[in-house]
C-alpha cells in the first residue's frame, strides 16, 4: 500500500515556543487504514494532525523541518461541533454543500457530492433542518459529512467524540471503518482508547512530541489502563471493553 500521507523525521515548533512540539516524527498512513494517535495532553497528537493535513505551519505559523508528503486533499474534524459551522448556512444540506460550492464547481456536481456525503453519514433525513437546532451528536455527523463532501484523501479527526454522549461517541467511531473502506485514509487522535481500539487498524503512541510506539492495535494493551485491568484480573480484551465486562458480571 502506498502511503497517502508520509512524514519523515519531521520536527515542528510553534511561533514563540521554547521547545519543539514534534521532533523526529516519522509516520505514514495508507488509503483504507485507520490510524489512532494516542498520547497524553501535550504529547503532540493535535499538532501532528495539523502538520499531517498541511494546516501547520501554513495557518498557525511556526517552523517545520523534515520531509512531508501530503495527500491531494485533506479534511479535518475538531472536537467542538459548534466552532466548525460556517454560520452561513440555514440548512444542513447547504452546510454540507458549502465545501464543494466554495471550490466553484457547477451546481449539479456540488449537490451530488453533498448528497453522497450525507448518505455515507446517514443524515439525509436532516437535510432541511437548521444546524443550530441539532444535538451534539447529530451536529458532529453534519461536520464530518461537510468535510467528506470535499472527498479528501486523508481524514483527520481530533478527539471527535469529546463533546458527545456515549451513544453519540459509539456511533461516530462506528462510522470510521465504513469511511476507510471507501478508500479514505483516516487519522484519529483520541484519549478514548477503548473506542479507538475497536476500530483502529494501527496505533501510534506519542509522548513529548516523539513517536514511542507504532504498530497494530493490540499495542494499546500496553497502556496504563490496560496494565491496571490486567493486574486487576479483568478478562481480555485490553484495554477493557465495558460491554464485555458487563457480560461477565451478568444480570
Amino acid at each position: 500500500m502506498t502511503a497517502v500521507m508520509a512524514l519523515e523525521g519531521v520536527a515542528f515548533r510553534y511561533p514563540g515556543a521554547a521547545g519543539e512540539a514534534l521532533s523526529g516524527v516519522s509516520l505514514g498512513v495508507a488509503a483504507g487504514e485507520i490510524v489512532a494517535l494516542a498520547g497524553d495532553a501535550g504529547a503532540g497528537t493535535s499538532t501532528l494532525l495539523l502538520v499531517a493535513t498541511g494546516l501547520a505551519p501554513r495557518l498557525v505559523g511556526g517552523t517545520l523541518t523534515g520531509t512531508r508528503r501530503m495527500p491531494g486533499r485533506c479534511g479535518i474534524v475538531f472536537s467542538r461541533p459548534w466552532t466548525q459551522l460556517t454560520g452561513l448556512c440555514s440548512t444542513v444540506g447547504d452546510e454540507v454543500a458549502f465545501g464543494p460550492a466554495s471550490l466553484g464547481l457547477a451546481r449539479e456536481p456540488v449537490l451530488a457530492s453533498a448528497q453522497r456525503a450525507m448518505e455515507r453519514l446517514g443524515i439525509t433525513h436532516l437535510a432541511m433542518r437548521d444546524p443550530a437546532h441539532l444535538s451534539g451528536g447529530e451536529l458532529q455527523r453534519v461536520v464530518v459529512a461537510s468535510v467528506l463532501a470535499l472527498e479528501p484523501d486523508l481524514l483527520a479527526l481530533d478527539d471527535p467524540a469529546a463533546e458527545l454522549d456515549p451513544a453519540g461517541a459509539d456511533a461516530l467511531y462506528g462510522l470510521l471503518p465504513a469511511l476507510a473502506a471507501g478508500g479514505t485514509a483516516v487519522l484519529v487522535a483520541t484519549p478514548d482508547l477503548e473506542r479507538a481500539a475497536r476500530v483502529a487498524t494501527r496505533v501510534v503512541v506519542l509522548a513529548g512530541g516523539h513517536v514511542v510506539a507504532d504498530g497494530p492495535a493490540h499495542l494499546l494493551e500496553g497502556t496504563r489502563v490496560a496494565a491496571i485491568a490486567r493486574a486487576a484480573g479483568c478478562p481480555p480484551p485490553y484495554p477493557p471493553d465495558v460491554p464485555s465486562l458487563l457480560r461477565r458480571v451478568g444480570p
Binding site: L50, V60, G87, A101, S102
Partner: protein, 255 residues
C-alpha cells in the same frame, strides 16, 4: 425587532436587491425632503410598500415602527413643540411653537418613514435568499461572511454571556449596589466572554479553511434568486428618483 416573515407577496418574490433598493431609496429621499407635507407623503408611500408585502408584514411593520417612533415623537414634541421658538400657538392650556411643530413633524415623519421602509425590507427578505443573491452576483466572500455568519454566532454568544452571569453569581458576584460596585462587576462578566471567544478563533479559522472558505474561487450559489429586466429597471429608476430629490432640495435651498 421583526425578522423575516414568510409569504408570497410581490415583495417576497422580488430579488432581494430590489427590496433593499426600495428601503434605501426611502431612507435617502427622507433626508432630501424638508416640508411636513412632503415627508408625510413619503410615510404614506412607505406604508403602501409595507402593504404590498402582505397583511402580516404590514401589521408587524406598522406595530414595530410605532413602538420605535413613539418615544421619538414624544421627545420631539417636548424639545421642539413645547420648548421651541416663536411664534407660538395657543391650544387651550398649552402653547406650542409653530416652526417647532413643523420641524418636529418633519423629523418624526422622517424616522417613521425610514423605519417602516426597512422593517418592510427585513420582513420580506429571508437572510438565506440575500446571501444567495450576494454570492450569485459575485460579492466577495468576506462581506457575505461578515453579514451572515455574525447573526448566527450571536445567539450562542448571548447564551454564553448568560451562563457567565449565572456562574459568577454562584461564586458570589453581586450585580446590584452602588454605580461603582456595578461597574466593578463588569470585568468578571465581560472578560471571560471576550477571552473565551478569542480562544476559539484559531480552531474556527482552521475549520473554515479546511472547508475551502475564502479560497479564492468564486463560490457557486445553489439557489440564486431570479432577477429580471423590469426589476433592474426599477432599481435604476429609484436611483434616478433619489438624485432628482436631492437636486430639487438644493435648488430650493438656493432659490
Amino acid at each position: 425587532m421583526i425578522g423575516y416573515l414568510a409569504g408570497r407577496s410581490p415583495l417576497h418574490r422580488a430579488h432581494p436587491y430590489t427590496t433593499l433598493a426600495l428601503a434605501a431609496a426611502v431612507l435617502l429621499v427622507a433626508f432630501a425632503l424638508t416640508r411636513p407635507l412632503e415627508v408625510w407623503l413619503l410615510v404614506a408611500v412607505a406604508a403602501v410598500l409595507a402593504a404590498s408585502g402582505g397583511g402580516e408584514v404590514l401589521r408587524s411593520s406598522v406595530r414595530a415602527a410605532l413602538l420605535l417612533s413613539l418615544p421619538i415623537w414624544a421627545l420631539l414634541f417636548v424639545l421642539y413643540g413645547l420648548l421651541g421658538a416663536e411664534p407660538r400657538l395657543a391650544l387651550g392650556v398649552v402653547s406650542l411653537s409653530a416652526p417647532g411643530m413643523a420641524r418636529a413633524l418633519v423629523l418624526g415623519g422622517r424616522i417613521t418613514a425610514i423605519v417602516l421602509g426597512f422593517l418592510t425590507a427585513l420582513g420580506t427578505t429571508s437572510p438565506h435568499r440575500l446571501v444567495e443573491a450576494m454570492t450569485a452576483s459575485g460579492v466577495p466572500f468576506g462581506r457575505t461572511f461578515l453579514l451572515a455568519s455574525t447573526l448566527t454566532v450571536l445567539p450562542r454568544m448571548r447564551d454564553r454571556a448568560r451562563q457567565i452571569l449565572e456562574a459568577q453569581q454562584c461564586r458570589g458576584l453581586r450585580i446590584g449596589g452602588s454605580p461603582l460596585a456595578r461597574l466593578g462587576a463588569l470585568g468578571p462578566l465581560a472578560l471571560p466572554l471576550i477571552l473565551g471567544a478569542l480562544a476559539e478563533v484559531d480552531e474556527q479559522v482552521l475549520a473554515l479553511d479546511a472547508r475551502g472558505a475564502g479560497g479564492g474561487a468564486r463560490r457557486t450559489a445553489l439557489e440564486a434568486p431570479p432577477d429580471s429586466g423590469p426589476q433592474r429597471l426599477v432599481r435604476w429608476a429609484l436611483l434616478v428618483a433619489v438624485i432628482v430629490a436631492y437636486g430639487w432640495k438644493f435648488w430650493r435651498m438656493r432659490g
